[in-house]
């Protein structure tokens, strides 16, 4: 039995190994995706359009605003005169940030030694929003240092309002999203294709006529992809820690365990697809349209689920990747432990068991 199994796993590994082009894509894809997403999102922001509201128009406020507008990070789109204009400017998308100075900036600073500057940002792009606030804060900090040198210490407080997306959801969320996508692609698509290929070429018939138990065929087919997924998870995590400098906040062991669970979900999906299709093209199409697209749309990775209409929010619950995405985000980014994600884990496990029961039932032990 063990020997049969070994011979079969070896064959599966050879299939993957011989197909160099696919192998290259499988290993290259996570690296390319993480790097692309990473640099598209973490690149520094230059020449961002901002608005400045300076009702005081005194000497100190003029110095501060000219410092901000002189920075290469900001381009003052307009100097506005009333707070009512801010809303409109954001809604039309003309500005990314508004800097609001208090009405009596110099007076406040000179008499009370403190003043408050407010930043309002468009946080629908959370990464850009935080970056802009950081740049602006450091400019103000510099200015504060400068005026403090000669006189009593002055403090300029900054107050930040993130518009549209106050919790800054979305920052680095692509890493868990890419993990879900890669696992689905490698496990679901590749497994379904590799099983359907055997049906297409007729080798499956010979395997079924052999003493190999069908369950063994399934498990042996899954193993190389399980290994491959592990390599992919490792490369994604390494890249995100060392290149994107996004540390894993929670437990690595928990993260890996949850990833194995989702890998099994994806493998089961692949098996299920292979039982209902007869050609490799159809298997690929179902994997892409039926699995990949819903994952992209409904896992919350590209489009926040909270903003979707209710029917779509309900639909999103049946997408396994959504739960995996929530889990990875919780463990990797928020650093939560198992007690916060047991519910999601339970849902994912339940889905996997259900899919597995369905797939094994459908997997044709006999050809009829």
């Amino acid at each position: 039995m063990l020997q049969q199994f070994r011979a079969f796993v070896k064959k599966e590994i050879l299939h993957i190994w011989r197909d160099k082009r696919t192998l290259f894509i499988l290993f290259g894809m996570p690296i390319v995706q993480i790097t692309l997403f990473g640099f598209a999102l973490t690149n520094e922001v230059k020449n961002a359009s901002i608005a400045i509201l300076d009702p005081a128009k005194d000497e100190m406020s003029a110095k501060l605003t000219s410092r901000i507008s002189a920075s290469r990070y900001f381009e003052v789109e307009r100097v506005i005169v009333s707070p009512s204009q801010i809303d409109e400017a954001f809604r039309t998308g003309k500005i990314k940030m508004a800097v609001i100075l208090p009405p009596r900036f110099s007076e406040e600073l000179l008499h009370t030694n403190t003043a408050t500057v407010q930043f309002i940002t468009d946080a629908s792009d959370p990464n850009v929003a935080t970056t802009l606030v950081n740049y602006a804060s450091s400019i103000i900090h510099d200015y504060q240092q400068e005026i403090t040198q000669s006189q009593l210490p002055y403090t300029i407080h900054t107050e930040t309002r993130m518009l549209y997306n106050p919790q800054l959801k979305g920052a680095f969320n692509f890493v868990p999203g890419v993990m879900a996508m890669i696992l689905l692609l490698v496990c679901t698509m590749m497994t379904s294709i590799s099983i359907v290929k055997e049906k297409e070429t007729g080798t499956m018939e010979v395997l079924l006529a052999s003493p190999l138990p069908p369950l063994l065929i399934i498990i042996a087919k899954a193993i190389p992809y399980l290994i491959l997924s592990f390599v992919n998870i490792a490369s994604i995590l390494l890249l995100s820690v060392f290149v994107l400098e996004l540390p894993i906040a929670g437990s690595l062991a928990l993260l890996l365990a949850e990833s194995i669970l989702f890998t099994i979900t994806a493998l089961t999906l692949g098996l299920l697809i292979s039982t209902i299709t007869a050609s490799q093209q159809v298997a690929m199409l179902i994997s892409l349209v039926g699995m990949f697209l819903p994952t992209l749309m409904f896992s919350g990775f590209m489009f926040p689920i909270e903003n979707m209409p209710l029917p779509l929010q309900i639909i999103s619950n049946i997408i396994p990747a959504k739960w995996y995405y929530i889990i990875v985000k919780a463990v990797m980014i928020k650093g939560l432990n198992f007690s916060f994600i047991w519910k999601e884990t339970l849902i994912l496990t339940g889905m996997t068991l259900l899919l597995m029961a369905l797939a094994v039932r459908k997997f044709k032990v006999r050809l009829d």
Binding site: R6, R18, P211
Partner: protein
């Protein structure tokens, strides 16, 4: 009660229906040990369905059969260990080498490495494939592939081998060579159950069974059949029988 020591296969009113369609209609026959048993019929006559039931790939709708003493409904796992099977489609892995394919099938049938190596060497010399052991099967010519597929089906030296239209699409010279391999196997004591729609191949069999519309219309030695239907070839016999067919070929 059907099982006799001399019979490798005993089928009794074996029937397979798919919905309203009766693919195999209550066929009964025996195949003796060491025999080359030919199963003839037009496309869609039910040959492959009958064979798949005997291999344990399909459950019969009714009737029963024993293969090497094992019941096909309840003991299909035992049957699978006893038989070799070559399917209609070419069934070796084209992206594996000749040697790797043999290793795989040897491994699947539970052979140890020494036995696999010895068998690989003997097949290589029989088929003059010594130089090609490390060649990918996909790059071999079709004739070689078919002979190789047969040798792989015979790799674990099964007492009974099922060949489903093994010579489809192969040139006459290779077909001839292929039958020499079948003879050699039968000479060693292997029982051969072969389906074909090449009538000339029927002459090579010890006994032939002609199926029309899922039923057995004739079963005897080729010579006896020719005599019975008063023609000089099995093709003549077949044409007389096939004229009664109502089923369209698929």
């Amino acid at each position: 009660m059907y099982h006799e020591l001399n019979d490798m296969i005993v089928a009794d009113k074996l029937t397979k229906t798919f919905g309203d369609f009766t693919a195999v209609d209550a066929i009964s026959f025996e195949v003796k040990k060491g025999e080359i048993f030919g199963f003839l019929g037009a496309n869609g006559a039910g040959k492959s369905t009958a064979m798949r039931m005997l291999c344990g790939l399909l459950q019969p709708s009714s009737g029963s059969a024993r293969v090497a003493g094992h019941d096909i409904t309840r003991q299909s796992e035992k049957i699978k260990q006893t038989i070799g099977y070559m399917s209609q489609k070419f069934s070796l892995y084209e992206d594996l080498t000749v040697k790797e394919n043999m290793r795989l099938y040897g491994g699947i049938y539970g052979m140890n490495l020494t036995a696999i190596k010895a068998k690989t060497a003997s097949i290589a010399s029989a088929l003059h494939l010594q130089e090609e052991l490390d060649t990918l099967v996909g790059s071999l010519p079709l004739g070689w592939k078919q002979k190789l597929a047969f040798s792989v089906a015979m790799f674990h030296s099964p007492p009974l081998v099922f060949l489903d239209e093994p010579t489809g699409g192969v040139d006459p010279v290779t077909r001839r060579e292929f039958w020499e391999l079948i003879y050699a196997a039968a000479h060693e004591g292997t029982t051969v159950f072969v389906t074909t729609h090449y009538m000339d191949e029927a002459e090579y069999c010890d006994r032939v069974c002609i199926m029309v519309d899922g039923k057995i219309q004739a079963l005897d030695k080729p010579g006896a059949l020719r005599q019975m239907y008063n023609t000089n070839s099995i093709e003549g016999v077949f044409l007389q029988l096939a004229r009664t067919a109502k089923r369209m070929a698929d």
